[in-house]
Amino acid sequence: MHVHFLDPYRPLPSPVHALDGRVKFVLAVAFILTVSLTPFGAWPVYLLLLSLMLSVEILSGLGVGYVLRRASLALPFVLAVFPLLFTTPGSALLKLPLGTWTLVLTAEGALCFANVAVKSWLSVQAAIVLASSTPFPDLLLAMRAVRIPRLLVAMFGLMWRYLFVLADEALRLMRARAARSGLVRQPSRSAGRLRPGGSLAWRARVAGGMAGSLFLRAIDRSDRIYVAMLSRGYDGEVRSFALPPVSSGARVTLVTGLTVLGLLWLSGTLVWG
């Protein structure tokens, strides 16, 4: 069994997919930066950014549904901002009595909450589109293009490559564990419900043992990889080809994208900043 689903890249014949990975990377980061710099309350700018994002999603063939579904996984963190609804001073919208306390939901609080939620939601969509429309090797190229040290990029490449190998091994360990763990009926608790057996500490130790086994295999494998690298002439220095030139079409897209984002930021700052 292979852990293919770990790889978010979906090859599709879309102009977004075909666009140079370096340009996409820069535009994605620029988008997130623009979102971050957009002042609170600049709703028209958020709306424009959202429509921009949705257009890209549709153009890429990934589909708005797919992107939004993945984006919802990041949602739980928004709960962390929940308190802001009640702690920000301002005009009260709602009063929730809780015993001796009264939680006051303020308009300002709701505004703050909404801003954080929208910023977060927009940013994660950009990251999803980037990862889903760009093959990982192209992302590595993009990292080199923005001057991330070659050694680090090579390490990212190695990690990604062996992610799938080790995830397969981890899955095998988990299936072996599942095959050997029956679920135990515990009548003293809830009537007849099945629960995993053993104490918490024991289960943690088993999980830890599996982790240890995984690490051991990883270290052993790294030894063998090192031998294979040496056999092909590795001398400690990371070598790679020169970066291919950026096509004029990609360049145009880059400049256009940055200009649009720049204008959005500017208008947001001038009017609401």
Partner: protein
Amino acid sequence: MFNRPAPMHLPDGFLSTIVSIVFWAISALTLAYALRRTGKDLGERQLPLMGVLAAAIFAGQMLNFSVTGGTSGHLLGAAIATILVGPWPAVIVMTTVVSIQALIFQDGGLLALGANLFNMAVVGVAVSYFVYTSLRRLVPQRPWSTLVGGFVAAWSSIFIASLSAALQLAISGTSPANIAVPAMAGIHALIGVGEGMITVGALTFLVATRRDLLAREQAGSRGGVGVWVFGLGIALALAVLSPLASANPDGLEWVAEQKGFLEAARSPLYNLIPDYVLPGVSNEALATILAGVAGTLIVFAVTLGVAYLRRSRKNTV
């Protein structure tokens, strides 16, 4: 789909732009130094070892175990990485893990990555190193010192890193410190136990089967006084600051002073240092937090400077 709760990986939109950029700078500098340092210690072996270890930690995060009916605990890995390969390589390993998590799986934002790297790859590693080496030195060479050291190091790394994340949220104005700190600290005090248990399990396995491996990797990597001092410093700073920040005698007073946050949040770039941080102004708690952070950064800078000087002196002697 593997649904991995990542309560410490801050998404984009939660930190102000300034905070994000500042922590990006700090993490980038630390990483640059770690790369140089690791090159000297491990040589050409480093690439496959650290790359595959990063993959193992990520894969290890899939090995969950059920804590109660619905939730599950899983591994972050800073402690085990530090114990296995030493602090500087661990910084690189954790950087790789956290970066790939952000880029490919959206565990944590891209702009916020700098801050997340600081919390998990720098603070997490430094605190692990400090706790582990201290405990092992205090209890010399007992068979269980590795395991106890591992547990406490793992728990502390998660706990202290979460305080750092909470304070980042507080400074950004996203979540007031008196809520963010207890919430993060509380959740991660529990998660830290899971991390500790898995770390101990992994170490038990490795000690039993390949003690030589453990010794080999640990012998090959050095951390040095600098890391130890920083680990101590950051742990103290955060552990002291956080209750300070969150303990406000009067919650309403805090909320009133919060009004400053709204102003600052609206124009994040132009109010580089919000008024209320300047000495003598209303929000003392925030002033304390920021002073603490500044102090930590100074400790860090001094530590790096000292470590760097010691290294260059060693080379010239």
